[in-house]
Symmetry: C2
Subunit: 427 residues, 2 copies
């Protein structure tokens, strides 16, 4: 059974002056703001999230990772053991009264705590969860990009030594690239600083975008890609760390790649993932150690890996936007097809037929003005709008592709609709 | 690919003196306690939860309900609008510092807030979410039965008038019965008090169990079933409300059903769901109103419906326990099959073969002592243990059924294993 849009909390408005992805997400009933930096995921974005989560789960499970769900209420004593409970933590994270609990912003301490009784024979171990996280951001902004409550996939690996930990790091990194490709977001992998998290090796995954608040330094010739904070460049033959330069005042035409001496560019990006080889930063103070043939009481080598799941909604919307609105990639679109006609019961029949053939579709039940329905579906970014228009009396429908940009509008017989849509979306 | 138990945080111990379901859940790596009333769901129970959630989703979607995800951080001003923010709320719920946020214990206010702009043409509307909830329980107890953080399915319906709201209530109640039957938990439906939630009609869903902290009054003849707080009985021809009687001092043999005058019994139970017709208790003060042909500014008729999802883990474990441990119903068991042998690579091959045929199986990789592996799988409640035993050299395996109690142990050829397991579990 297909859904009518009216049941999905999607308001029909004649939109004017929508400027950015957040405008579109709010106006079209994808998200609702509860308070500063706190959003509800309405039915349309809940569907997107479920599709993203399924992609993440299938790739991580294939890479040997195991899912669990750690609590959100965390006893601060674990953060005292790992030396992460700083004096300013109160400003950074939300605490409940009397500091009895903190709300988990990330789970290194909780998972390390669970590793205290494992045997070296169980290694390598890797666990992930897709849960809400909380951070008391001082300046929430850009829709779902910087929020106080968000959905995050966090993953933790544990190995016997550094060499094996590097193998785990490589395995997860390959899974990350598959995940982003399947989700349909173009990305760059950048060298990054381990920063506050500690550890020896770190990479960030970035979606290229002009409004992004992150900056990458990208070589025009070789593969060198680094975030602004950890990049090294050459200028007049001398090496500089870009963090020692002033971004706004930098003349990029004077900089060269420190590796191949080709010109470098600065790119604005949105961070969509982060991986760290943490070493023993958490396992040593928290005594997550194993006895093995190599010795007794060896602290586990740990890695941690994040994907900002709800943030991907804003990142995808922003990266794939054009003058007409959002454009969702087929694998994560809330629906593959919108069905629009003058008669919503006709639309329902066609949408039901699509759904029973494994294509998710909604029908427009809020307006019988075909033009409004088409424009609304376009702004929402639905990959294919099916219009029961002037040739519906001959059982022919128009397909207006929004995602497959090189594909022309076409008219097909209703009998060919399923096959045509499956072909267009490579189902 | 199948999983080895060693990767799933399931410890192998020789268990002695496990007394109740919580002992088993903790000892066998289903759950881990973080602090009083706060638990992690380890990989085994994460698998149970996902199966329960899939059953809930399929039945609610079939009943026309739509999924969304409301925030956990709630602005207390919404609770001021609905008059639910009482003086003692601070003791009941967890607040963040300076009362900027509260952690959602339930979401009537948030969903009603979203209903302020709907049209009467969209009705009936019904939305649900499966998210964590938080309650500052003074006395957490019985494993996952009474906790401070828990997973809950909450659902809200909105209708134009009371008659239509009753139709929605009936539709959801039917879905509830299907859900509990598919999950495999025996239940009773009892009349209940609307209590603090307000409203006109309320039912509770209870699993019968002697250690349950709830009490039901059940007629031995007719369908009358009510919780202790709202039951009416007859004694010497006169009607009494049981809440006016002292439970411990009551002589049940002197009580009669107020409806058919047959004897009544008191039963101990675990509450596993609750439904309310709320009327306009929230929609009127929060001004969730529609203009319709019947009039303007009509407050929506609301219903709310809960299922304690993580609580079901403890309820199922307790209800289906026997002297040997837990017994999971096949549809929600973390794995349908355990594969045990003297050689874990043989076990892995058989488990992989089961998985590739759509049967979820793990292999025992923590011990090569078949007896320990069998006992561990039995205590864990895995429906079928496959043993590569004395006749494995002839490619024959033993099936030890735990769930299907009337089925004898049997030995089958490896070629018949998939068909036999599918038959036994009615896949």
């Amino acid at each position: 059974m297909s859904s009518g849009l009216g049941k999905l909390l999607a308001p029909l408005k004649k939109h004017h002056g929508l400027k950015n992805s957040t405008d579109y997400l709010l106006s079209h009933g994808f998200i609702q703001q509860e308070s500063s930096g706190v959003f509800d995921l309405l039915p349309l974005s809940t569907r997107i999230i479920q599709k993203i989560n399924n992609i993440i789960r299938s790739e991580l499970n294939a890479a040997g990772c195991v899912e669990l769900e750690l609590s959100n209420l965390v006893d601060p004593k674990l953060w005292i053991q790992s030396n992460r409970l700083r004096k300013d933590t109160e400003a950074e994270f939300i605490f409940t009264e009397k500091r009895k609990y903190m709300l988990a912003p990330t789970a290194e301490e909780q998972i390390t705590n669970l590793m205290r009784n494992v045997s070296y024979k169980q290694l390598p171990l890797s666990f992930y969860q897709i849960t809400r996280k909380f951070r008391n951001e001082l300046r929430p902004r850009n829709g779902m990009l910087r929020t106080r409550e968000f959905l995050m996939k966090d993953l933790y690996t544990f190995d016997l030594n550094e060499e094996l930990a590097e193998q785990s790091y490589k395995r997860i990194s390959e899974a990350y690239e598959k995940i982003y490709r399947r989700i349909g977001i173009p990305f760059l992998v950048a060298d990054a600083d381990s920063g506050d998290m500690g550890g020896t090796l770190s990479h960030e995954y970035h979606a290229l975008h002009e409004v992004g608040e992150d900056k990458l330094v990208v070589c025009s010739n070789c593969t060198y890609t680094s975030n602004w904070e950890s990049a090294i460049v050459k200028k007049d033959g001398q090496k500089y760390q870009t963090k020692d330069l002033n971004f706004a005042e930098t003349d990029f035409s004077s900089l060269e790649c420190h590796s191949c001496s080709s010109p470098v560019h600065a790119k604005s990006t949105i961070e969509i993932g982060h991986t760290f080889m943490l070493g023993t930063k958490y396992t040593e103070p928290m005594q997550a150690v194993v006895n093995s043939p190599a010795g007794n009481g060896i602290p586990l080598e740990m890695g941690c890996y994040g994907i900002g799941v709800s943030r991907l909604i804003s990142a995808l919307a922003e990266v794939h936007m054009d003058n007409s609105g959002i454009k969702w990639p087929v694998p994560v679109a809330p629906f593959s097809c919108a069905v629009v006609s003058k008669n919503s019961s006709d639309s329902k029949k066609v949408a039901d037929m699509l759904v029973s053939n494994g294509i998710d579709a909604y029908y427009e039940d809020r307006t019988t003005q075909i033009g409004y329905g088409i424009r609304d579906a376009k702004e929402k970014g639905i990959p294919f709008t099916i219009v029961l228009g002037s040739r519906w009396s001959e059982q022919k429908v128009d397909i207006l592709p929004r995602w497959a940009s090189k594909v022309e509008d076409q008219t097909v017989s209703i009998d060919d609709l399923v096959k045509t849509i499956k072909g267009l979306s490579h189902l």
